[in-house]
Symmetry: C2
Subunit: 486 residues, 2 copies
């Protein structure tokens, strides 16, 4: 009994959470309820029912079919339905008139053949790539045509049937559109706008999170990159968001298609607002996200640069990262507030800090390839300014806590475990393993190069930001965002 | 006139091409035509029409709504329709009975309120994430409920109305399912199977293409990575295919959902065939594709390793690439033929050639960081075995054709052009450009590290193949693929 009460409680709680997350959901539900009630009243009340006749029940079907979440989608579906019904009506009436003239015997044959033809043609057309968005329209043509011509055949007078159906559909459509537009409208454009802005945030978050984890990872705990955790990474919420950004292409495109049907509204006052530019900006942003995915791959790959080496470049990496993610956030914010600000300054800063990182990597590039990248040797090998460079570093490597040997042991174990699946391959090689130890060392050195990979990908991310800035700039020009005062 | 004839011709040609690409499209269209014809005959012929009554026209609507491309989707939609109608019928009849008992005045109020409630609740439920696939079912509940209760109110006898509607829907459903399943069925499972196999091929192709272009690119022609070409890369068909693989998540998932509804058929004879494993394998494959995207990013990034350096590792890179892509193709082929073969041998070869690449990079890693990576200097700097290493290379760098200076000039011009957008930033820095020349050099050296990035990503790609092999292995175990004789 207690258990039932508890699960009931948690169920109500999750529904409440779901509503609170986005109150539009509740608004939408109530609106649909209201819309069906409105058309039902036409039938429940005696007067309108007598006026419209029993065909008015078709308007209920129309409302149920047309009520979509966003205004744009409702318009789109409404247009599909209206045009589909109209076209079907015209064809049906002409075929029926033609069939009537051919006489009693030929009539059903012509009607049957025309039904087959309409079914085949509409089904074929809705598979055609550029017509896929109008799939619903073709369905409407098909069943409206069949209904009109068949009931016309049975009840005579196909024109009457067609007209009755058409205006009951029109009534349903008008009610659905009116309720959707006039009562707390949910605009697809607004949704698209928000979605794009949140994509910017999640890419920036994921990028920062990825770099932070890379610098934090001291080789102590390193969950193996198995299939089991591959999808999850429970401690990386931003990464998961970024992945869902990559999968949201279809959603963005649907919203943009819907948004094109919407009249100017709210913040989007100019006609022919460039919704397609949103899709393009999202595509460029996705290119940046691919780079984040690659960085994430390096973070979880089994070959890792030693912790002390990573720490040596910590400051440069952090600077470049925070500048880059600030730029991405700023771009998102500019879109959000629909302002057009000069990003030159920020972009310059990102480039400068990235160049500093490049410079640092370059000057110390021999670190990436020396035979032993141990911390103690490092200091010996280094010229004076390098030593200073390491000392300048605000977060010194945790020498005290982890002895070098401990660290290296862990490092080697991990390196040795690559490639992970084929243990027997190793066993085999051990037979003639004269070169077993040197091979270890060489892997170690390649491991140091993984830092180069990480920074290269980071730099590539920054390089792609140029294109992102350009794309956002184009959007803000075409959409006539307000120019910010200098 | 000629123009019209020509465009008409090209139109017919493209339709013909579209049909030839996948003959299922034509089959599907004809099947839909046949299905609507079949139900229409029930009305066009006198006998069945007299037997079933005028409500039979609802079966046409059902057929038009239920005919989906694949068998699984038809079943899914049919079940949605059947359960939705049934549920709506039950609720409607009980509410109607209840309303009847409350008397003439309260009846319309109760009915109106119930319509509102059903509209709001179904609309809310279809927004709930786990119920989204049943969206159509909720729509059916809504309009069936409204139709039954409203026409019941107007015509009395709601049970009669409900029953008439339900069996005309059942007739429509049976016809739609029978035509879809019995006449040349298009199985979602088969489509999913093919789609997954083709994804394997396109990832392998894109990987090979990307590496080939990397090794071919001699810095002569290098289209700038602008927004304009970003989406296109006309000379990289495999890359575009790979991108569409990344965007096909939704399609794969829809097919898997549909496939679950299908009975055993064709090659997929066991019940509860593990279609969800297909989705998992596709997810792992997508992880490999992300790595290809990153490789592609390096290929088109503006910082490039000198041609002669890339050429020095050509053989190793090519070996690793061809082995890895062969493994991917082989995995695809194994899924295609539903066989389970031992991939240990292939996997070992991939690991061995990848290790050779790693070894080569490691031994020559100083090449990546020496001050000048010129070809002439290279030979001087190198110990004897390195010289041999370069001579062993079957494709010697094209010294004769491009002089070193020419090459370097191109290289520097390109390097200088990074970062590409902010020319003025450079102009500014030129003011105090005491360190202008050294900066050039340092970029040059970082450029050599881009080779390390490329190979690291390549190695990471190979590392992910382990997981791919594992995922495919799991699929072949669960799906009981035939074990190949050893």
């Amino acid at each position: 009994n207690d258990h039932v009460t508890f699960s009931c409680k948690s169920c109500i709680l999750s529904v409440w959470q779901f509503c609170k997350e986005d109150s539009n959901r509740v608004i939408f539900s109530l609106k649909v309820g209201f819309a069906v009630l409105a058309v039902s009243l036409l039938i429940l009340c005696r007067k309108p029912y007598q006026f419209f006749g029993p065909d008015i029940i078709w308007s209920i079907l129309t409302v149920a079919m047309m009520c979509e979440y966003t205004v744009g989608a409702t318009f789109n579906r409404g247009l599909n339905r209206a045009l589909g019904s109209l076209l079907a009506g015209v064809i049906a009436v002409s075929v029926a008139e033609l069939a009537l003239k051919t006489g009693r015997i030929a009539e059903p044959i012509i009607i049957g053949f025309s039904i087959f033809l309409v079914g085949a043609v509409t089904s074929f057309m809705k598979l055609w790539p550029s017509l896929v968005p109008y799939e619903y329209g073709f369905r409407v043509i098909l069943f409206t045509y069949c209904l009109i011509i068949v009931s016309g055949y049975r009840m005579g007078d196909p024109i009457r049937t067609a007209m009755d159906r058409l205006y009951s559909i029109a009534i349903g459509g008008i009610v659905a559109v009116a309720v959707n537009v006039l009562i707390l409208p949910i605009w697809a454009g607004e949704q698209l706008h928000k979605e794009l802005v949140s994509n910017f945030t999640s890419v920036a978050d994921a990028f920062e999170e990825c770099v932070r984890k890379y610098l934090e990872d001291d080789g102590k705990e390193h969950p193996e990159f198995t299939n089991a955790v591959m999808d999850e990474f429970p401690d990386e919420p931003a990464y998961r968001k970024c992945r869902s950004t990559l999968d949201s292409t279809a959603k963005i495109e649907t919203l943009a298609t819907s948004a094109k049907w919407e009249p100017p509204h709210g913040r989007f006052q100019n006609f022919s607002y460039p919704w397609s530019e949103y899709v393009k900006v999202d595509a460029v942003l996705r290119y940046c996200a691919y780079e984040v995915m690659a960085l994430h791959g390096v973070l979880h790959s089994e070959i890792q640069a030693p912790y002390n080496l990573r720490i040596a470049f910590k400051k440069e990496i952090q600077d470049a990262t925070s500048d880059a993610s600030e730029l991405v956030r700023r771009l998102g914010k500019d879109i959000c507030t629909m302002r057009r600000s000069l990003k030159t300054c920020l972009l310059k800063r990102v480039h400068a800090s990235t160049e500093r990182l490049q410079h640092a990597i370059d000057v110390h590039s021999y670190l990436l390839t020396t035979e032993s990248t141990t911390f103690s040797n490092l200091s010996n090998h280094m010229p004076e300014h390098d030593n200073k460079f390491l000392q300048e570093n605000p977060d010194p490597p945790l020498q005290a806590e982890y002895s070098y040997h401990e660290l290296m042991r862990k490092q080697s174990r991990r390196l040795y475990s690559w490639p992970s699946r084929e243990i027997d391959a190793f066993e085999e090689e051990r037979g003639f393993s004269a070169n077993f130890v040197p091979r270890m060392k060489e892997l170690e050195s390649t491991a140091a190069l993984s830092l180069a990979t990480f920074t290269s990908l980071l730099i590539e991310f920054v390089a792609r930001l140029d294109h992102l800035v350009e794309a956002v700039d184009k959007l803000s020009r075409v959409a006539k965002f307000k120019q910010e005062a200098l």
